[in-house]
Point group: C3
């Protein structure tokens, strides 16, 4: 089975079976670290970093070199051709004619999808703003598999900045897909965002339990969690959940504690200052209890102060191992997308279908993504906005580029013309009438004035 | 036939026959894109970019990797060793001892020639300020040859910023050499410079016709041109020219339309603002006429707004193909200069001798290049200015580094000492006496005070 | 004999015999410059430059490519991961899991040692602030050996900025080890620092003669020196020294003149301005005397104005050859540290034991390095300061990271508890009582208040 020519924009571009096959290949790749392999001889990887990232870039480049391929690199490109006003799409097309595969990091959310749409060669997302960083997630999962044999049924604590940490969001989705239970322990003010929670429960069919244990536990110096997410692949646990308190959950320890630094470059100033004071620190003392005796300590690095140096020599610490495992994981991925290797997929493996097959909204007007870092907002002159209608109550459109959700206030049907001109009416999006419009006929408006601009008049369901 | 050890500073460093041979080799190189060639195995290319340029640099580096060579890269060097005051010549010598070939981009005009003079290895000019960018021209020509079979007799429209676009100047010279007719359609205020027009007619022996059709045609929404350049290799066309109006010329369409962006980084603020408003835009609507049915749409990229995205899927658009063809062209060039390949030159090919064999002026005083971006102005401590005396009426000296022309006001003869001291006189450069001085005896002065400084007295032909 | 797995932080990490063996290997490497060697095939070198340096980086990378290895590069890293607060140790550990060898340049002094301590792979110091740049010294020595056959007994003039030029300090130590005589000719105000002079005489067992010839000679336009350093490996010269004046010494010429630019980026503003005016310039005229007929002119480059361009074509000038020889020297070094080559060490070679085996002070308190550019000051959260007690009169502790010396004012003994609490006393560091404390029991304090903080009371020898 091949992945030849495919791109990796989000970790959901790979099925569970494919990920497991990729991990088997990564095991094989680890044996190539001490010699020069020729797996990708004759291939060129372009490494395009619009945001600085020494670690991730060097990991990708080392992987390509170990495979026998060649690398062309552009870093800090913000200061170069884009300064002349070049679009991401043009850059993708041009570099796609130089190289056989592109690795892209960009500050705009959804940028990697645009590159993948235009490049004509496989594209790997090495981080697009606060959106996705799928190879980080793959190496996190791979570390867990190497340490515990499986992800299914593991209990993983996510710790720190759960709001801006893109690695945490991707990891949460992936853990959910593989049937792990997740305990959220955010720094104050940096809780997991609503849209991530919604996606977890809606698309990965899990259950999220909110806790008020935070304040309670904090007073007692306990390891408290904000919420627990339980996947349906652990039905017995799900059944038990109402009976166990969060504290009990924690007394049993966790299989792994995944710590992240405060993403100050993405946070507001207020958030940054608040988290400075109260950011939880993991150190040897905190993990001295016997319930943590087998807890893996993980971190995507770089760390700042949230993970003490006294953990470095601790046998439970796996963060440097994570970084090291990034190379064979990326070797496996690159060789698969280039078609230099094929996947050995287990027949009995559970497959995963990314998400519900939502209807699309792609009229190109009436709504624009509200995320100012979205690539559609910044490269509007050639990208047509496109959304998934993920919910009708409230009407929720999710940008297919950056996953940001927008909630249009007014709607109409494109079928008005079947009747008289008098029927060209708009309605409040939360009116019962609105729900009767078929998705393929849906027209949305950001405001009444916009609707009127397009020649619509208010219906009796357009009330404020 | 070999090019081993030669450098490419300007496209005129290659004869027509050599360029045609290089294109044949580029055809061969295109077949090496999917495998690892060993043509340049064991060779190192140094890629030195003192100005940002992701596209050009990556193209060169991909080319070297495809050839099996290795690459060392320094970008944004302005911030590093040169900040310590290092000269271009020292840098060239040192890097020339590390690498087998050097690719250089530098903001100073003539810098590539200095590197070629000192490096001791072949040097390729990847852009020296507004002066030359010969590999861009080669890939432009190669695209035309791939699309039309030949350049001779083609009619090419040059569109946009014809003042600061270095790619346009180089391309114009090269088109002239190969016998194409050129139609100039500048953005307002960004007409082709005098010195380029002069060089076209004087050294490429063509004829340039200025039009007043711009204003006239603009009113009628026609595609009007500012000037038409006709080469002597199309004598029948030349003969016809008085009979055809510019509009007629255009009604017949053009074989290719070569569009360039406004080079705002080189323009004055006033020019930049002016061109913002009136910069001509090429889009599908403009090219809907049947006279443009077979017109190739070309652009050196990056584009800004002068070329609409609706052209991207048009079969006439060749700008992404141009970029892609840059790789085999550069592969061919690098392998030739390194001596890894030899040229297969057609015996019947027309050769081209660069320019009239002008006398040199290299006294090192009396005149300095007036171009503040010229390398001789910026690296004066070790480069001796040198000029070609391209005309005596008016006396015109052209800098051999940046091609900028200077017009000295006063002259003398070095033969004054043959007579009495009284004959040590200087004359006005446009006096008839001045024209009697042999070039090898010529001494020039920027001012009367300078002449007097050197001990000369005014002759009766020194009048203002 | 192998160097497999060792690091090169300072040139003293290699014995004289090892350096000589490395030079033999460099001779062999010079023959590999025109073909692709596979000596280091399958190995990856990470090139981490936290300070800009085009020349040194490209030299290392060219060396690795010539050896058949691969290179991953990060330049100007100050703006990237470290901006997120990452420590040098974390960076070293992560990159050490990607690459097989690391080349590091960093503005903090001692940084290369930290990288070597944590990386888990061999590390080469490519310059750590003003501290060391050992491969520059190796190529300087190699050039001398290629030109003169040996270093022993050579007379070398060090010229220019002897205060901030790190290459000059390393070179001086190395010349001393190999038995050369050194003449110091500093620019005014940029004399060789005390600690360098001390190390030369104390650890390399040489003799330093201060001259008052500077002012005297300057008046007469002579080439005057500030000090002459003579190594004990030239005992006959040492015996002669009192009988010869500095001027006589100079009239005999020098074997090599090693010139350095003013290191303005490290100097104070006052020093920079002062040296601007009076910085000595070497040109053809200065070296026209017959005593300089065979003097090699050397410079680590880049040069500014201290070495005139008229020397470039002079047969005595070796500075571009130095740069060129850097590649085979680095090829030899990289292949040795990677274990791809072994050393062929001469049996009769003199070995060198780095320094006296000083007792250590590593209590982690009571003293911190006074050098604000020391890595221990900047990365204090995980590096424990550590010192060598290099002298007791005055009490002198030398930082093992940056070689900066500190002079604690107060001391105590850790054996106070053997007696009564009353004996917990501190003393002035220069009291005779202080000298009776065994090094392993020594406790030092920066101030009386610090001593009192730790519960000590003043002894009668604590007087100010």
């Amino acid at each position: 089975m091949g992945l030849d020519g495919r791109s990796l924009v989000t970790v959901d571009d790979l099925s569970n079976a494919e990920i497991e096959g990729l991990f088997s290949l990564a095991d094989e790749m680890s044996n190539l670290m001490t010699e020069q392999s020729d797996v990708c001889r004759g291939k060129i990887m372009a490494s395009l970093f619009f945001e600085p990232s020494t670690r991730t870039r060097l990991s990708f480049e080392a992987a390509m070199h170990r495979l026998g391929g060649r690398v062309i690199t552009a870093v800090d490109i913000g200061a170069t051709s884009l300064a002349k006003g070049e679009s991401i799409a043009d850059m993708a097309r041009v570099v796609g004619s130089y190289a056989d595969i592109i690795v892209i990091r960009h500050p705009w959310e959804g940028a990697a999808k645009v590159v993948a749409d235009y490049a004509g060669v496989p594209v790997i997302n090495a981080g697009d703003g606060g959106h996705e960083h799928p190879t980080q997630t793959l190496l996190d999962l791979y570390t867990l598999v190497k340490e515990r044999g499986t992800i299914k049924g593991l209990k993983i604590g996510l710790w720190g900045d759960l709001k801006y940490g893109r690695t945490v969001h991707s990891l949460a989705y992936a853990l959910a897909r593989f049937g792990a239970t997740i305990l959220f322990h955010p720094a104050p003010g940096l809780e997991i965002p609503e849209h991530v929670a919604r996606k977890l429960t809606r698309e990965y069919k899990g259950e999220l339990k909110k806790s008020d244990a935070m304040n309670h536990a904090a007073k007692q110096g306990l390891f408290a969690v904000d919420a627990i997410y339980v996947t349906p692949t652990s039905p017995h646990q799900l059944a038990m959940m109402p009976d166990i308190s969060f504290e009990v959950e924690l007394e049993k320890g966790v299989d792994a504690l995944y710590i992240t630094r405060a993403q100050k470059e993405r946070a507001t100033t207020t958030e940054g200052q608040a988290s400075d004071k109260a950011y939880p620190v993991v150190d040897r003392r905190m993990l001295k209890g016997k319930e943590f005796r087998e807890t893996l300590v993980m971190h995507p690095l770089p760390r700042v102060d949230e993970l003490a140096y006294d953990m470095d020599s601790d046998r439970r610490s796996k963060y440097f191992k994570q970084a090291a495992l990034g190379v064979p994981v990326r070797m496996a991925l690159i060789s698969l997308l280039l078609g230099s290797k094929t996947l050995d997929v287990r027949q009995d493996s559970e497959t995963f279908i990314r998400k519900a097959n939502y209807p699309r909204y792609d009229r190109g007007y009436g709504v624009r993504c509200g995320n100012e870092k979205c690539v559609t907002v910044n490269e509007g002159k050639y990208i047509k906005p496109e959304f998934e209608i993920v919910s009708s109550q409230p009407l929720t459109l999710r940008c297919i580029y950056c996953d940001h959700e927008v909630f249009p206030k007014y709607v109409a049907s494109s079928e008005w013309h079947d009747g008289t001109i008098e029927r060209k009416r708009y309605h409040s999006a939360n009116s019962h009438w609105a729900r009767r419009i078929k998705p393929e006929n849906l027209i949305v408006f950001e405001s009444e004035s916009e609707a009127q601009c397009y020649g619509f008049k208010p219906s009796k369901y357009a009330g404020g």
